[in-house]
């Protein structure tokens, strides 16, 4: 019996060993229990073992095998939710699966984890297990809880229909999301996370799908259901299904082709590389990772350490943006926009994000645009230069004709009509000038020239001109500060234009009272003066509401008076631009004393350093007088006659390479009476001939484009040799710029090609008849200018005023006009109003267009009607200091230049008619 019991015991103990070689009883008490039950029913023994199993999962295999064969133990196990529960109710395949799984759980180690079933069931994450055919084989308790289902609702159902029945929203499409994730996971043999779905129980979750493979065979599919907050559901709905946000961004960055987006480490070494970067820069990821990002920069940038600089700035400011050339792997460059952003993780600087865009195309189109713009600007400026000439020339012709007509005997009625023509013509000319000036200013093509400016003389001459248009009830008061410089360097024409504009406005809007013009030095430094010019009137004034738009183009502050006060409304806006061009400002304030306006402006002028400088300008100004735009266009026939009378004694050098042109020029010059004409066929020969006899020629006509030495260089050489003979360029290009170029090279004037006979006559007349011979010495010349200055000054004084002056001299008071300066009374009349060379003056005779009176005395305007104009000879010289410059020499230092003698040159174009055929373009404001 004992033997039998032993053998039984052995059988029981050994049996399992036969069934599974790896099997062993870990606990000694287990064997003793078995031992004690030897005589018992086999099932009891098994039950005992099953009970034991509750504590010892290592017996799992045994128990399961037994359970498959015995109903009671199966029931017991059902209560325990053992694996076998599933196996009983599922299909054959899933049973196989389960068995397979179970077989492979190795109950090897005493401290190994507890039963998988327990873990599965009690996992806090809802879990679902599918067979390879997507049939639900097992659910966790938490799943049932969260989804409000029972095991029976799930087990044995296929996943898709089950989900469709459970999902709250439009089920079919949503459940497909999960199915897709499952399919993806199986296909990729890796885990996937589905998009979120919301089930009937209002539980919103995403499924993490893990397919479980044994070699190539799909064993099972494991689904974890992770709850997502509802807000995140919305976010995720915008993301591709199956992607987490991070993943989406990673893919986005990686796949972007148009931008190079990559990360640098803190030192600037490249850490990531996207498709865009590879396409743009040509490096593959493997080549570039770890390299420093300065590899993309060109030499110039590297030389100035731009890459490091950018990182520095980026660290300081968080971000840096740059545009510039970057280089590709193949060495070609592209115009890049680069943004570098400092990247921080949890407050620690971890590197830089760099985004590079290729802007080469944009850059190219930008430069095309700029080129097109510049081209159009150039065309515009050329057009303006041409138009100004084309429009003004006939206008001047018309006005000259009017003036001539007015000088002829006319009936009262005829005179009225011609006066209307004349007046309208002047206004039209002013309008044209305004518009041209305005468009030039607007296009930026307005240039300020650099000549001598006599501020005082410009102001007095403007005042004088405007005075003629004033009603008798208005008088001028002129205040010139005693420290006002005689001559400064700047643009006299533009300065005069502003003065004329605001003085003219004052005259236009003032019916009675006074117009006071004040000029003073606003500030002064080593090189320049800032001159403040103020015009104070007692006119109609300006409403406060209108004063803001005073300087706006085309604004006329009082539309009701437009008809009365003619104009384009451009005047002040032009004045403003001009003042700004001259480094100054312009402004308005109401007259503080009585009704009226105060307009003021400042302009900066350079100081004049030397006598030589003045002489140079003098030359230039003289050159300008002969310009085609000059309004002085005496009758060509008269000029030709005068030219013919002296031509025989004059000697000309013609420099021209083309024999046909030589012949034509020779023919033309001969027909004008010139007999002594030398020929040079190129610039080098010309230089040789001129320097060979430096005072031999009266004038040189110089072709520009010639072999060996061109006209520009030849002229420069002649000037370098110290020869001052007038050189007239003959050029096929006659725009302003070309003319200035000629002047730059030392030439004095130009004639456009093909040479027009009349034009040539005018230019020759200017240089042969009007200009002082260059051969005369400077001293002599200066003296001449001074004489001329004084003579003209005397001429400008009317007989009446001269008489008044004589009276005042007789009366013992100071002669001349007393000027009340801010710092005292300045005596003596200002410099002459114009500069005309003696020859011109004596030839043309001087007509008194206006009468000048001492401004300190309130004298109603002595109307100088054109009809009353008569030619007057030189007046008797006033005695005393009348001829002295307005400002005492002591005040002005040692410079003993005839004030305004030069500066007034520009005035020639500006004044009312003084000699036959002369008409000013800007007489009216």
């Amino acid at each position: 019996m004992a033997n039998m019991a032993n053998s039984l015991l052995n059988m029981v103990i050994d049996g399992p060993k036969d069934g599974n070689d790896e099997e062993s009883h870990p606990y000694p008490d287990s064997s003793s229990k078995s031992h004690g039950a030897v005589s018992a029913h086999n099932s009891d023994c098994l039950q005992a073992m099953t009970q034991h199993q509750e504590h010892d999962h290592f017996n799992d295999n045994d128990s399961h095998i037994s359970a498959s064969a015995s109903t009671p133990s199966t029931q017991a196990m059902e209560e325990d939710h053992a694996w076998s529960v599933a196996t009983r109710t599922t299909t054959q395949s899933s049973i196989d699966d389960t068995v397979t799984l179970q077989r492979h759980v190795p109950p090897t180690h005493p401290f190994a984890a507890p039963d998988m079933s327990l873990i599965f069931d009690f996992s806090p994450v809802p879990l679902l297990l599918l067979s390879s055919s997507c049939c639900i084989t097992r659910v966790s308790k938490r799943f049932c809880q969260d989804w409000h289902v029972t095991e029976e609702d799930c087990i044995g159902k296929f996943l898709l229909p089950f989900l469709e029945s459970q999902i709250r929203e439009t089920g079919a499409s949503k459940s497909r999301l999960i199915a897709e994730a499952v399919d993806d996971a199986v296909a990729a043999r890796s885990e996937r996370t589905s998009k979120a779905i919301t089930v009937k129980s209002a539980f919103t979750c995403r499924a993490r799908v893990i397919p479980i493979f044994r070699d190539a065979e799909l064993v099972s599919i494991y689904l974890e259901w992770h709850e997502r907050p509802s807000s995140e559901v919305l976010d995720n709905e915008q993301v591709q299904p199956g992607l987490s946000t991070d993943e989406a961004f990673r893919i986005l960055v990686q796949a972007t082709k148009d931008y190079a987006i990559f990360l640098l480490d803190t030192k600037g070494h490249i850490a990531t590389w996207n498709t865009g970067a590879q396409l743009l820069k040509g490096y593959t990821r493997e080549e570039i990772i770890g390299k420093h990002f300065s590899i993309f920069y060109g030499k110039e940038d590297l030389d100035i350490k731009k890459p490091d600089m950018e990182l520095d700035i980026c660290l300081r400011e968080g971000r840096v943006e740059d545009e510039g050339w970057r280089y590709k792997k193949d060495g070609t460059r592209f115009w890049a926009n680069v943004v570098i952003t400092a990247v921080y993780k949890n407050g620690v600087h971890v590197g830089f994000g760099k985004v590079t865009r290729d802007l080469t195309e944009r850059k190219a189109s930008e430069s095309r645009l700029i080129a097109a713009y510049e081209e159009s600007e150039k065309l515009k400026s050329d057009f303006l230069a041409n138009m100004s000439h084309e429009i003004r020339t006939p206008m001047h012709g018309m006005l000259s004709a009017c003036a001539l007509l007015l000088d002829s005997p006319l009936t009262e009625r005829q005179r009225d009509i011609v006066n209307i023509m004349d007046e309208s013509g002047q206004i039209l000319l002013q309008v044209i000038n305004d518009i041209l000036d305005y468009s030039k200013l607007a296009s930026g093509s307005f240039s300020v020239s650099s000549d001598v400016v006599g501020v005082a003389s410009i102001i007095t001459s403007v005042v004088r001109a405007v005075q003629t248009t004033l009603p008798p009830a208005v008088h001028f008061e002129l205040f010139l500060a005693p420290n006002l410089p005689k001559s400064v360097q700047g643009d006299p024409l533009r300065y005069r234009q502003i003065v004329q504009n605001i003085v003219g406005n004052a005259a236009k809007f003032t019916d009675k009272g006074s117009i006071r013009v004040k000029a003073s030095v606003d500030s002064e430094d080593n090189d320049s003066y800032t001159i403040l010019t103020e015009v104070i009137d007692t006119g109609i004034g300006i409403r406060e509401s209108a004063s803001a738009s005073l300087f706006t183009p085309f604004s006329q502050f009082d539309l009701t008076t437009t008809k009365r006060y003619k104009g384009t409304g451009l005047g002040l806006s032009i004045a403003k631009s001009l003042a700004e061009l001259m480094g100054g400002r312009i402004g308005y304030r109401p007259n503080p004393e009585r009704h009226g306006s105060v307009f003021w402006f400042t302009a900066r002028f350079k100081k004049i350093k030397s006598l030589e400088q003045i002489q140079d300008w003098k030359h230039q100004m003289a050159a300008k007088d002969g310009s085609p735009i000059s309004p002085i266009q005496p009758d060509v026939t008269v000029l030709q006659q005068r030219l013919a009378s002296v031509a025989g004694t004059k000697s000309i050098l013609l420099v021209e390479d083309n024999v046909i042109n030589q012949k034509v020029m020779l023919g033309m010059l001969r027909s004008l009476g010139f007999r002594s004409i030398d020929l040079a066929a190129d610039g080098a020969a010309a230089v040789k001939m001129v320097t060979g006899k430096p005072v031999g020629y009266d004038i040189v006509l110089m072709d520009i484009n010639m072999p060996i030495l061109d006209g520009n260089e030849a002229s420069q050489k002649i000037r370098d040799a110290g020869v001052k003979v007038p050189i007239i360029a003959m050029t096929a290009y006659a725009l302003k710029g070309d003319r200035e170029k000629c002047l730059e090279y030392g030439m004095n004037d130009y004639v456009p090609k093909p040479v027009d006979r009349k034009f040539l006559i005018k230019v020759l007349a200017t240089w042969i008849l009007e200009k002082v011979d260059y051969r005369k010495a400077y001293d002599e010349r200066l003296q001449q200018l001074k004489d001329c200055d004084e003579k003209l000054h005397r001429l400008s004084v009317s007989e009446g005023v001269a008489a008044a002056r004589r009276e005042s001299v007789d009366g013992g008071s100071k002669p001349g006009m007393a000027l009340q300066g801010d710092e005292g009374v300045v005596k003596g009349w200002a410099s002459p109003f114009r500069e005309v060379d003696q020859a011109q003056a004596s030839n043309a005779g001087v007509r008194q267009g206006t009468f000048q009176e001492p401004a300190s005395v309130r004298i109603p305007k002595m109307l100088a009607q054109r009809t009353e104009r008569t030619k007057v000879g030189p007046l008797p010289l006033p005695s005393g200091d009348q001829g002295a410059p307005m400002l005492s020499d002591a005040q002005q230092g040692k410079q003993e230049l005839p004030n305004g003698g030069f500066a007034e040159g520009e005035g020639l174009n500006q004044l009312p008619p003084v000699s036959d055929g002369e008409i000013s373009p800007r007489t009216l404001v």
Partner: protein, 159 residues
């Protein structure tokens, strides 16, 4: 740009119409330089011009056919030849020839007539070739109008 034809139109009646070939204003100025109505001066000018033109055309042709020179050099020479003849044709008011010369000058500088860059030297040479042909043709037409013994503007010398 210049107002050549404002007045002085008295001898308009004797000016035949040269069409686009001649700027009458300029040409009149040349005629005005004649001392008498024999037009010796102007005739000699015109004759000289046609000689000069033909000489220049031959030079241009030589350069065009001279394959030994590199294109850059050739274009440079062509440009200055174009400029040269442009000067005299403009002086006489021979506008059509002048315009062709302008084309030669421009393309010699590798520029189009409008002043845009034309980097293709072969194109430039072709344009010049074409302009030369036009210029020659215009010159022949004009020479016929001016100097033809039966119907030309300048009648043969009396001698």
């Amino acid at each position: 740009m210049h107002s050549h034809y404002d007045d002085d139109r008295e001898d308009q009646d004797i000016m035949p119409d040269f069409g686009e070939h001649v700027d009458n204003g300029i040409f009149e100025q040349i005629l005005e330089m004649d001392d008498d109505d024999k037009r010796e001066f102007s005739k000699s000018l015109v004759t000289n011009f046609f000689d000069q033109a033909e000489e220049t055309f031959v030079k241009i042709e030589e350069v065009l056919n001279n394959e030994k020179l590199d294109n850059g050099k050739r274009l440079e020479t062509l440009s200055s030849l174009g400029h040269f003849l442009k000067g005299s044709s403009a002086t006489l008011g021979f506008n059509k020839i002048r315009d062709s010369c302008q084309i030669i000058q421009q393309y010699g500088h590798k520029l189009t007539v409008d002043g845009a860059a034309e980097p293709n030297e072969q194109v430039c040479l072709e344009k010049i070739q074409a302009a030369l042909k036009t210029a020659r043709n215009d010159k022949n037409v004009l020479a016929d109008m001016m100097l033809n013994e039966t119907h030309g503007f300048f009648q043969p010398d009396d001698e």
